[in-house]
């Protein structure tokens, strides 16, 4: 597994989720720390396209062999795309958590929520605690 990395162009949620914001859309996923704690991911249960997801609420589940984890939405929005490739290669979540391991893309309903998220330094600091 790759070394712990936390890209600095992302915003982070304390439940170990990241958001890549591009205009009025954002891509969500789980951080290196989350996939490391979970172990090898075997299954991703995505929401349906069109579902509304709420900031701080669970919108999906990620499973390893011995654990199930709720995935928390860093921001609110309408799901416009889910990463279907994960049905065949769920291990992307471990191997490339910020790239091929992305989970969903949403159209943001409240872009100002980004203010409440952590920057990379703050997130790193939180992990070290």
């Amino acid at each position: 597994m790759a070394d712990a990395t936390y890209p600095d162009d992302l915003r982070y949620h304390e439940e170990h989720d990241w958001a890549r914001i591009e205009g009025d859309q954002a891509t969500f996923g789980i951080t290196w720390y989350a996939q490391d704690s979970l172990g090898e991911v075997v299954f991703f249960d995505p929401p349906e396209v069109g579902t509304t997801i709420q900031k701080d609420s669970s919108y999906a589940e990620v499973e390893s062999v011995k654990a199930v984890s709720d995935v928390i939405a860093p921001m609110s929005g309408e799901v416009v795309e889910v990463n279907d490739a994960l049905q065949d290669t769920p291990e992307q979540v471990n191997e490339d958590p910020y790239g091929g391991g992305w989970l969903v893309k949403v159209r943001l309903t409240s872009p100002e929520e980004a203010e409440t998220l952590l920057g990379v330094e703050e997130y790193r600091k939180m992990l070290d605690r």
Binding site: F43, E63, S64, V65, K66, A67, V68
Partner: protein, 471 residues
Amino acid sequence: MTRYTSATPDDRRQMLDAIGVGSAGELFEQIPEPLRLGRPLALPDGMGEAEVYERLAALAERNADAETEVCFVGAGMYDHYVPAIVDAITSRSEFLTPYTPYQPEISQGGLQVMFEFQTAMSELTGLPVSNAGLYEGPSSVASAGYLAMGATKRRKFVVSRGVHPHSRETLATYSAGYGAEVVEVGLEDGLTGAAALAGAVDGETAAVFLQSPNFLGAVEDVEALGVAAKEHGALLIVACDPMTLGILKPPGECGADIALGEGQPLGNRLDFGGPSFGFFCATEAQIRRMPGRIAGETEDVDGRRGFVLALQTREQHIRREKATNNICTAQALNALGAMVHLAWLGRQGFRELGELLVQRTAYARERLAAVDGVELTHEAPVAREFAVRLDAPVKKVLDRVADRGIAAGYPLGREYPEFEDGLLVAITERRTKAQIDELAEALEAAIAAERNQGPGPLSPHTGDKVTGGVT
């Protein structure tokens, strides 16, 4: 008393010293004084093995089992012949005494048995996925309801009156908990009313429950009945008798989403109703919602083929309140018995046994229908069990026939008041032609005697009053 402990006074002294207390009683001081029992349990003193044996044998003597009375009683559990190798294999320590296979490296025996059993049940039912077993038939039906609610997000069940009354009752009990509404569809001439069923199913229906052969022994056209479920996106759940799956079209080929049932006929004794096992098979789409344990094939670090508990994230020890079911301990040893029995019967033998059942049942049905005072409740095709109606009080007839050493069948009246004086007669490969003929004669004589209020039977019967003992 019998002890299975070994601690001698010397052992105790050494152990207490190591712990640093003067007596074992000190270890119980963590129990607050008011909660300590402070007296011996009001139970008889313990006994030696021989004495316990005598007690249990004396109790056994007071049961009219299938060796004392020829058993034509079915209703989901049948007096099949269980081959001797089943006893030999299921009594092996290595299968009898281990725990659930959570450490797969030392549980390959149990896990492979599960895998083989899953394969066999999948073959029997025609559905690709099987679990390793649930408690028994009726609670499996209730668990299927729970699955259907999760899968469809709906809360209504449509259930045929042909489904085993214990299954319907259990489903009702569970539904009161998990919040489902149960709608029953009646039988017409022994079969589920097709129009009534179609009328009851709608967009709120999570599942349609059928049984074939149904409780009255009739073989249902599951495929035709199931169309209503498909049209409304409800799951089709079919309970079936495993011993008939060698000759009847399996639910998987009739559009069932789930096929399940009582597994007792495969490799398990009657045991006054348990332990047995429930089998539960489903389409691929339902695999992540399946209750119970599932064994999966894999490899070890050196590339050796092996088996593990798969998809454990469905289960209670991981998913807790969101688990697909609360089941933990199931019926693993009973499933082993089933697998050995199926291997013993083999592909050809299993089919032949099914054919044998159909032939003898047809014969029995004809013989009984010809008896004065016996009428078939329906003419639908049957496989191994059929329902008749007697022209005399069924309980009294059964008592008279029991005096001739025959248990004639299962009285229908309590669960099917519409068939007062109804009787369900079951056939297994142990029921010979001679026994069937004797049953017919005994019924004839008993009905005649009841009609004539003839001389009472040999042992004292006092109608409905409960008496102690057999004779």
